[in-house]
């Protein structure tokens, strides 16, 4: 099972990074989403894997619980990355509307003037 999760994290990471390295804003944002899945799973897995042991305290029986802390951390991370994604999406959209260009690189915009004194 650990192998499955680790390889899934790896593939999500690879896919995310490949898309992040694309040249248009939209695939980059998709790539960031994929990467954030990978990171969330990664962070979650640092508590080790457990089946059927949700950290909901059982008053009636002695049962095992999986590590709740990484779950709480991932929750925070999910929320934050949601906010970030929304912002970058809006920025990318507005940048596109303002410049009619959705390239992520700005290689064109830095070549101007400058002379000797």
């Amino acid at each position: 099972m650990e192998l499955l999760l680790a390889s899934a994290v790896g593939i999500l990471t690879a896919g995310g990074i490949y898309l992040i390295l694309r040249q248009r804003t939209f695939p980059v944002i998709i790539g960031l989403s994929l990467l954030s899945y990978a990171v969330n799973l990664f962070l979650f897995a640092t508590g080790r894997l457990a089946l059927n042991q949700p950290p909901i305290l059982n008053k009636y029986a002695e049962v095992g619980y999986t590590d709740p802390l990484p779950q709480a951390l991932v929750l925070t991370a999910i929320v934050i990355s949601f906010g970030m994604t929304a912002v970058v999406l809006m920025m990318a959209l507005s940048a596109y509307l303002a410049s009619k260009d959705d390239r992520i690189d700005m290689t064109d915009s830095d070549a101007q003037g400058g002379e000797d004194a």
């Binding site: 990171v39 897995a45 934050i80 920025m91 303002a98 992520i104 700005m106 003037g113 004194a117």
Partner: protein, 516 residues
């Protein structure tokens, strides 16, 4: 139980939403509340600093949970100093934003400004690694908003780059924290220190990966080459007061490096052997080089200052990378200096850009040329590390601290040669902007390219800019630099005491982990 420690976080966290909710449509009231909040923060910061002077460390246990199980805030000399530096910077920057009218060129400047402060101050105060991540995110997202304040296509595109780069960085932060947690089972920084120190020697690879990834995350913030690429475009395209405030953001990275690599992965911790200094020092040297070369090579005054900020981070990181108490003391002094300097120059750059555009090409004389030139001259002196301002003192301190290091000659050579390049670049820029304007051959450019940025959205409602206030703000920063120079002795005493506290982390650890 003193709640003063948490006020630097809670106060802006209250004022921000209040501005959003209650006085969203009252620019004047927003200004009043924003200034009041920052003034109050300054008072709090001064009080906090005085409480650390005797070397005591205060711990604030959130939710009344004992460390390491809950989150703690820790006030020691370093955090107190950084808090005060932030608030001291914030006031003139805010005044400038109001004075120049920048605050009304987009929505929610003041709320975002408060949130930005909340994030920065929280990052300085927290004693929990994951909470540090959260505050990093708070300060980052506020910075995204501030960076694109006012809109405009170039700024937005630069903003997208800034955000994307930082999102990758945030992912790395989580990976690093996860790695550290998966080995040590804790998130509290003091507890991490204890556990890392007692880690079994036969299994250190993972913790080393976590440690180095964490360092990289901070290195991004601190704009260490080759992780600095986000900075020039972001800072150059950000509104000036924002860029000036960002001067402290790179210091957050520097702070975190100092904190983590003295407390948890200190020079004596075998696990962290060779993780920081080995590559950080050369990287810092290259950062300094890249920054100064940028200063000479740039075509635009905003970028010039941005590269100056990179160069000053290079110098600062050289001192940090030495990881000795003396060098760290020098680094802390230099931190104050470079923050105020970069802020001053960003404001000056804005004064220039507002009047003649930022291009380093001849334009006719602008209004208040002399006054702005004087400010630029002072800022340039500070940035180049020329006397009499604190940059020179800082440079000497850093060079002096490098004396015992094997790299001393390289460090000295790089610092001095880059100083020369910086001087050349700044004098070239100054001469072009302020002097060449007087040349009779200079005529106004035929067409000013039209921009759709930086115009007040509702001119009839927006309060007038107060140009005098803008100058007051710039001069206040300059005065700060003068004070930093004149009071170099006592301030250095303080940073030395701070460094001493950092390199003897037992106190910190004990204060945090003891049961109340």
């Amino acid at each position: 139980m003193s709640h003063l420690i948490i006020l630097p976080i809670v106060l802006p966290a209250l004022v921000g939403p209040f501005i959003l909710m209650a006085i969203r449509f009252h620019s004047d009231l927003q200004r009043v509340f924003s200034i009041a909040s920052v003034v109050l923060l300054n008072l709090i910061a001064v009080t906090l600093l005085t409480r650390t002077l005797d070397g005591s460390i205060e711990v604030y246990r959130l939710g009344d949970w004992p460390a390491p199980f809950g989150i703690v805030l820790v006030l020691d000399r370093l955090s107190a100093m950084m808090v005060l530096l932030t608030t001291v910077l914030a006031l003139p920057v805010l005044l400038y934003a109001i004075g120049s009218g920048w605050d009304t060129r987009g929505r929610h400047f003041h709320a975002l400004f408060q949130f930005q402060l909340m994030g920065i101050l929280g990052a300085f105060l927290t004693g929990d690694a994951f909470n540090l991540f959260v505050f990093f995110e708070v300060l980052l997202i506020a910075s995204y908003g501030l960076m694109i304040h006012g809109g405009g296509s170039v700024r937005l595109r630069a903003g997208v780059q800034y955000v994307v780069y930082n999102l990758i960085g945030s992912s790395l932060f989580l990976i690093a924290l996860g790695t550290l947690y998966s080995v040590t089972g804790t998130l509290n920084m003091a507890d991490l220190a204890v556990r890392v120190a007692t880690l079994p020697a036969e299994d250190t690879s993972l913790i080393r990966v976590g440690a180095v990834l964490l360092l990289l995350v901070f290195a991004i913030k601190a704009a260490v080459l080759p992780l600095h690429f986000w900075l020039p475009a972001s800072y150059a395209n950000a509104p000036a007061p924002v860029a000036a405030l960002f001067a402290i953001m790179t210091k957050v990275g520097a702070y975190a490096i100092i904190r983590m690599y003295t407390l948890v992965f200190g020079p004596d911790v075998p696990v962290a052997e060779g993780l920081a200094g080995d590559w950080l020092l050369p990287a810092a040297l290259l950062t300094l080089a890249a920054g100064s070369i940028g200063i000479l090579g740039t075509r635009e005054i905003g970028r010039l200052v941005a590269f100056g900020a990179i160069a000053s981070m290079g110098t600062l990181l050289i001192a940090i990378a030495l990881f000795t108490p003396q060098a760290t003391a020098a680094a802390l002094y230099y931190t104050i200096h470079s923050t105020l300097t970069a802020a001053l120059l960003f404001l000056v750059a804005d004064l220039v850009m507002e009047r003649r555009g930022g291009a380093l090409s001849p334009r006719p004389v602008m209004p208040q040329n002399g006054l702005i030139a004087a400010l630029f001259f002072a800022g340039a002196i500070a940035m180049a590390g020329m006397p009499p301002l604190s940059g020179f003192v800082g440079k000497l301190l850093v060079m002096d601290a490098a004396r015992g290091d094997a790299w001393v000659w390289t460090i000295w050579a790089v610092i001095l040669i880059t100083s020369l390049i910086t001087i050349m670049g700044l004098s070239r820029a100054g001469s072009l902007v302020f002097w060449k304007a007087h040349d009779r051959s200079v005529t106004p450019p035929e067409t000013e390219e039209e921009t759709d940025i930086g115009q007040p959205l509702t001119p009839e409602l927006a309060p007038e800019p107060v140009p005098g206030l803008a100058f007051v703000a710039a001069f206040a920063l300059l005065a700060g630099l003068v004070l930093l120079t004149v009071l170099a002795g006592p301030i250095l005493k303080f940073t030395e005491a701070t460094a001493a506290q950092l390199y003897a982390p037992a106190d910190y650890i004990q204060s945090v982990l003891q049961r109340p």
